[in-house]
């Protein structure tokens, strides 16, 4: 049992986390993202899996790809994924990995 899926972020996780960080810490980024997700994501070097997880608001996939928990939590709040959906998606993973 570990508090962390990754003891060190993978390169994929780095890219994914960078999107979450910039999206919520740079003025205008959130508006740009909500306006045109695909165009916004084109700014970053992302694996196909990471890109799809962000685009689809797939909280479980974001977690499994190494999203930092604080960035993931802030992202769920920031883009207004309802709490039962985000927490439910995570809890559904329990015992599976």
């Amino acid at each position: 049992m570990s508090n962390w899926l990754q003891n060190m972020p993978t390169a994929e996780a780095y890219g994914l986390n960078k999107v979450l960080f910039e999206l919520h810490h740079k003025p205008d980024d959130l508006a740009a993202y909500l306006g045109d997700k695909e165009a916004y994501l084109d700014r970053f070097a992302l694996t196909g899996r990471a890109r799809a997880a962000i685009r689809d608001n797939d909280v479980a996939a974001l977690y499994l790809a190494g999203a930092n928990p604080y960035l993931l939590r802030a992202h769920c709040i920031g883009i207004k994924i309802p709490e039962p959906v985000s927490v439910g998606a995570l809890k559904a993973l329990a015992g599976k990995n």
Partner: protein, 273 residues
């Protein structure tokens, strides 16, 4: 030479500001009373500066430059950085000279803290100060320990950092009275399949070991069991640092309650000679 006139520790969570009503009024009032008592004790000790040991929740720091330890040395600190935190935007006073002194002294003592002259503090510092009612008055030195993204500094190292911090503070010539507030933990978990878990057994044993005053035992227990208490429990590093700074003073647990609806075990305590 400065005297460390108060050393306190308390849990933090944004939920205590954002969704106070997620728990029963009686519980909430009990907890808020605990924070107010802590604030009153800090104020009564009349510190000229307050060291706040906390962590940055990936707001000021990212993986392109993620410090294990960072000492603030700014004359002021805007807060909160979270646009979604229910707290008034304002600017807290900083003690830049004390921050600079601590940086130099801790570097001479074989620690490698990063310097920050500009931080927008997050709920980790703000929420406990806010609830304690001492957010505006005392110049701060924020000291941020990475508890949020591995690789994390070891529990042993965080305790040793606190020992060195206490020594450095006691030799500071420019003030007579300083205080320390450690914030974070205890058990909680965030954005994983265990989200919402509170490990009350872990929390009670951790607090018991602090009260027993067994530094090596606290470090060992923390190292071996933190993964049973959730990723938010990594924040016990701040409690270990405060214990180190307390230099053998006795820890008094003032409050504990497992608060699953706030996603956190809420502990409040104090080291007193």
């Amino acid at each position: 030479m400065a005297e460390i006139v108060a050393i306190h520790a308390a849990s933090h969570t944004p939920v205590m500001l954002n969704f106070p009503d997620a728990i029963a009024a009686s519980e909430r009032e009990e907890i808020f009373a605990g924070f107010r008592a802590m604030g009153a004790a800090i104020a009564a000790a009349r510190p000229q500066a307050l060291i706040v040991l906390s962590d940055d929740h990936v707001h000021n720091f990212f993986l392109n430059n993620l410090p294990a330890l960072c000492i603030g040395a700014a004359p002021q600190y805007p807060t909160p950085v979270e646009h979604w935190l229910k707290a008034e935007k304002r600017i807290l006073p900083g003690d830049a000279a004390l921050g600079a002194y601590l940086l130099s002294r801790l570097m001479e003592s074989d620690f490698d803290p990063a310097l920050s002259m500009e931080l927008t503090l997050d709920h980790g510092v703000l929420a406990p100060l806010e609830l304690a009612g001492v957010a505006r008055d005392i110049p701060l030195v924020p000291i941020l320990i990475n508890c949020v993204q591995p690789p994390l500094p070891t529990m042993r190292r965080c305790h040793a950092f606190g020992v060195a911090l206490g020594r450095a503070l006691r030799t500071y010539p420019a003030l007579e009275r300083v205080a320390i507030l450690a914030t974070g933990g205890i058990s909680h978990d965030l954005a994983t399949p265990r989200m919402g878990m509170v490990n009350e057994a872990f929390d009670r044993e951790f607090l018991r070991l602090l009260e027993a005053g067994d530094a090596a035992g606290v470090v060992k227990y923390s190292t071996e069991h933190v993964h049973e208490a959730g990723n938010g429990a990594e924040e016990i590093r701040m409690w270990l640092a405060a214990m180190g700074a307390a230099d053998g003073a006795h820890f008094h647990r003032h409050y504990y309650r497992a608060v699953p609806n706030w996603y956190t075990g809420i502990g409040i305590g104090e080291w007193k000679a």
